[in-house]
């Protein structure tokens, strides 16, 4: 089982990286996690973003956060991507699989996955 000693090791490892964290937040991924989002399957979508961003080493430039009801419940799970100097991108009817694709193509590659955006789903 995971031990508290392993947690202490994470603390040691993170010590040097604390300064780096300050500069984070070029890209902000926001997942709608109100009742409507949760019921539509937002939890695995959020988990996919949190894990994917960590695994791809994107933690320094991407922050993943949760928000309440965005107001378009029929399109849940909804994910918004905010990037400084660019227009907001709204992904709708997301799944964990689609999230992986967005991480790869959009967050890493810089190109919006148009077929999952709200514009293509109306």
């Amino acid at each position: 089982m995971k031990s508290l000693a392993e947690l202490a090791a994470i603390r040691e490892k993170m010590k040097d990286r604390v300064v780096l964290r300050e500069g984070q937040g070029d890209i902000r991924v926001v997942v709608g996690m109100a009742t409507c989002g949760i019921a539509a399957g937002a939890r695995p979508v959020l988990s996919a973003f949190v894990e994917g961003v960590a695994n791809e080493g994107l933690s320094d430039k991407v922050t993943v956060t949760q928000t309440g009801c965005i107001g378009i419940c029929q399109y849940e799970p909804v994910v918004e991507v905010f990037e400084a100097g660019k227009e907001k991108v709204t992904y709708v009817k997301m799944t964990a699989e689609k999230a992986k694709e967005v991480i790869e193509k959009h967050l890493k590659g810089g190109s919006v996955v148009s077929e999952y955006t709200i514009g293509s789903n109306q």
């Binding site: 089982m1 995971k2 994470i10 603390r11 993170m14 409507c36 939890r43 988990s47 960590a54």
Partner: protein, 184 residues
Amino acid sequence: MKELSLNVLDIAKNSVKAGAKNVVISIAETSDTLELKISDDGCGMTPEFLKNVTDPFCTTRTTRPVGLGLPLLKLEAEQTGGNMSIESKAEELSPDDHGTVTRALFYKNHIDMTPLGDICSSVVTLIQGNPDIDFLFTHTSPEFEVKLDTKELREVLGEDVPLDNAEVLVWITGYLKGQYNGEE
């Protein structure tokens, strides 16, 4: 909701919204029942608000006048022959001792019982979204006992590393799953 653990995530968010600093989530199972209890030290509710709180048209959300969180939990409990109750003390009426306790009792062998599902994922999601709140999670049954106290984790991590650090979240998931699997 397809899983009870999704209701847990949803209801615990009410505590977050109430400005709670401490949220206690406990699941206690017997061979026949499952009792879910979520308590917090948030702003609480006035008796008037409490009376209407399971009405779907009673909500604090601002995007539309419908809130289904508590009504859904109530439905899921009652469809197994169980029940749901809420006690609350409003901060405005009781400044020194306030907060809300939501209890739901399920008869888990009933055919309409909603499966608990991935509760580890709900706990981790709550911590990820609210790294400054302390969560105490316990899940007991005749076969096992699972416990996670973010206060203990904070002591180990110190002030430098937040609980929503990606590696910490991975550790928490492993820590919880290890307890469920009975690892030493």
